[in-house]
Symmetry: C2
Subunit: 324 residues, 2 copies
C-alpha cells in the first residue's frame, strides 16, 4: 500500500452510522422486497434487501464510495487505484467519477468485455495485465508508488467494511427487528459490516454467513478459529472466490457472526432461478448465496423474521442462460 493509502482500523457501529450519512444522496437506498410465495415456502417472514438494484449493480459501491470520500484532500488529488475483475472495479470507478477522483483499475486482459466497457464508461483508466505472466498486486503496487495513488482494497479495510454495513442498517430500519440475517460471504467485508449494524440495531439477530461449498475457507476459519484459505475455488459464485478472510474481517466475523454455512453450486443455481422466476429479480450467483442458505439449509426459521442480503445482479445473460 502506498504512503497515501488508507490504513486499517477497527470498525464500530458509529462508523457505519457515519458512513450512512456520508453516502446519503449518492448511494441508492435500495428497496426491501417481500414475497408471499417465499414466506409460504419457508414458514418465515422474509425481507430481501436488494443490493442488485444498487448503483453499478452491487453493494460494493457503498464501501468504495465511503473509502474514497474519507481520503485526505491530498490523496484525493493524486487519485486511487484498485485491482479487480469484478464489481469492486466498477464500484471504485463510479465512486471516483462521483467524487471527482481519478481512478485507475488494473484488470486482466481476458476480463469480460462488458465489465471492461462498464469500468471505462465510468471514466476510469483501465490497465490490462496478462494473468499468466504478471501479478496484479505487484503491478498495482508499482503504479501506485510511481503515481502516488491510494490503493483501495476490495474488503479488508475499515472504511470499506463500514460502508458495506450501511446495507444492513437500511434493512433494519425498513424491515424492523430481525431474528436471522443471511449474508453472502467472500472476503468478509459485507458480512462484517452487516453484522456490526445488526448487532446495534437488531440485538439478538443471528447473522448467518453463506459461502459456496468449493470456497469454504471462511466457514473453516470460523469453525477452527484459525485463518484458512482456498486457492482459486471452482464455483459459479465468482464474487466468493476470494483467497481468505482479511486481517480486519476475520476477527470481525469471529466476534459478530453467529454461524457460517455452505451451499453447493447446484443449490445456488436453484435459488438463483427461483429468485428470477418467482421474485422477478435478476441476481448474480454470488448474490443468491444468502437466499440459497435460507432455502436449502434447515435452520429453525419458522415463525421468525428473516433478512436476506441480495448482494448483486451483474450477470452476463448469455453465460447465465448456458448455466440455466
Amino acid at each position: 500500500m502506498s504512503d497515501s493509502g488508507i490504513s486499517p482500523l477497527p470498525v464500530q457501529y458509529a462508523d457505519v452510522a457515519a458512513a450512512s450519512e456520508r453516502l446519503a444522496g449518492h448511494v441508492r437506498r435500495t428497496p426491501v422486497l417481500t414475497s408471499r410465495t417465499v414466506d409460504a415456502r419457508t414458514g418465515a417472514r422474509v425481507f430481501f434487501k436488494c443490493e442488485n438494484f444498487q448503483r453499478m449493480g452491487a453493494f460494493k459501491y457503498r464501501g468504495a464510495f465511503n473509502a474514497l470520500a474519507l481520503l485526505p484532500i491530498a490523496a484525493r488529488r493524486r487519485g486511487v487505484i484498485a485491482y479487480s475483475s469484478g464489481n469492486h472495479a466498477q464500484a471504485v470507478a463510479l465512486a471516483g467519477r462521483e467524487l471527482d477522483i481519478r481512478a485507475t483499475i488494473v484488470m486482466p486482459q481476458d476480463a469480460p468485455a462488458v465489465k471492461l466497457e462498464a469500468t471505462k464508461g465510468y471514466g476510469a483508466e483501465v490497465v490490462l495485465y496478462d494473468k499468466h505472466t504478471t501479478s496484479r498486486e505487484d503491478l498495482a503496487g508499482e503504479i501506485a508508488a510511481e503515481r502516488g495513488l491510494a490503493l483501495i482494497p476490495p474488503f479488508d479495510h475499515a472504511h470499506i467494511v463500514a460502508g458495506q454495513g450501511t446495507a444492513a442498517k437500511e434493512l433494519a430500519e425498513d424491515a424492523g427487528a430481525l431474528d436471522y440475517l443471511f449474508v453472502p460471504c467472500g472476503g468478509g467485508g459485507l458480512i462484517s459490516g452487516c453484522a456490526i449494524a445488526a448487532a446495534a440495531l437488531s440485538p439478538g439477530c443471528k447473522v448467518i454467513g453463506v459461502e459456496p461449498e468449493a470456497g469454504d475457507d471462511a466457514t473453516r476459519s470460523f469453525k477452527s478459529k484459525t485463518l484458512q484459505s482456498c486457492h482459486n475455488p471452482e464455483t459459479i459464485a465468482d464474487g466468493a472466490r476470494t483467497h481468505s478472510l482479511g486481517k480486519i474481517t476475520f476477527p470481525l466475523v469471529l466476534s459478530h457472526v453467529h454461524d457460517m454455512i455452505t451451499v453447493s453450486d447446484a443449490e445456488l443455481l436453484s435459488a438463483m432461478r427461483y429468485l428470477w422466476e418467482r421474485m422477478k429479480i435478476v441476481v448474480e450467483p454470488t448474490g443468491a448465496l444468502g437466499a440459497a442458505g435460507l432455502f436449502e439449509r434447515r435452520l429453525p426459521v419458522a415463525g421468525k423474521r428473516v433478512g436476506v442480503l441480495i448482494s448483486g445482479g451483474n450477470v452476463d445473460l448469455q453465460a447465465m442462460c448456458r448455466l440455466l
Copy 2:
C-alpha cells in the same frame, strides 16, 4: 355470458378510486423504480411502475380481484369461470382463492406446464380443451350455463378496467405529475384504466399505447377510428396477441389515449434485455412494450417526467434464454 355474469358499464375515475380502496391489503402496492442509466439514455426522468412484482407476476390480478370482489353474493357462491392461456387465468384463480370463490379455468391442453401448475396451485379447477377441435368460448359458455358460473372476461369489462387503472393511480401518487405515460396495449384493459387515472391525477399527461408491430390492431383502430382486428399475430409479446380492442375499451382508448405506436419484436427483445441487464428486473416480452416504445421511438421526452408501465414478469426462463 351467463345471467349471473357481470355486465359492461362505462368507467370513470371514481370507479378506479373505489377499486383502489377495495384492493388495499390484497393487491401489492408495487415499487416504482428509477435508473440514472435510463435517465441518461433518454434525457428524461423515468419512473417504472413494476407490475412484474405484482402478486402472480402481472397487473392482471388488479382487475380480476376487483371484478370478483364486485360480484353479488349469490354469484360468488356459485363461482366464476375464465378462459385464458396467460396471466388472466392465474389472476382469476388467485383472486378466487383470496375471496373464497370457486374458480374454473378453461385452458388449452398444450399450455405450458408451469402455467397449468401455477393455476392449479392457486386452487382453481382447470378444464383442458383441444385447440384444434374446440372453441374455448363455446366450452366456457357451456360450463358457465350448466353450473351457473359468472364469466370473468380478460379485459372488456368496466370492473376489470377500473381495477387495472389502480396501477397508474399508484404511479401518479408515488412519482408525482407525469408528462408521458407509456403503457403496453393488448385488449386495452390496462391502458384504458391507466389513461382514466392519468387524466384525473396528472392532467396533461400524454398516454402512449405500445403494441407489437405484428399485432397492431389497436394502433390501426386508433388511427382510423374504426375497430380493426388481427388474427393470431406472430409476436413474442404473447399478452398482446389479442384479436382486437373491446366494446368498452375501444371507446375509452379513443377518448383518453394520446397516441398509439408499435415496436418490432427485435426492438422489444432489446428493451427486455436492457431491463434485465441494467435494471435487474425480470420482465416478460409483453411487459417490456412500454419501455421499448420509450427507448426506440423518438418522442420528445427530453427534460420530461415519464412513466413506464412494466406490466408483467412471467417468463419461461428456458424459452427466454433461447430468444436471448
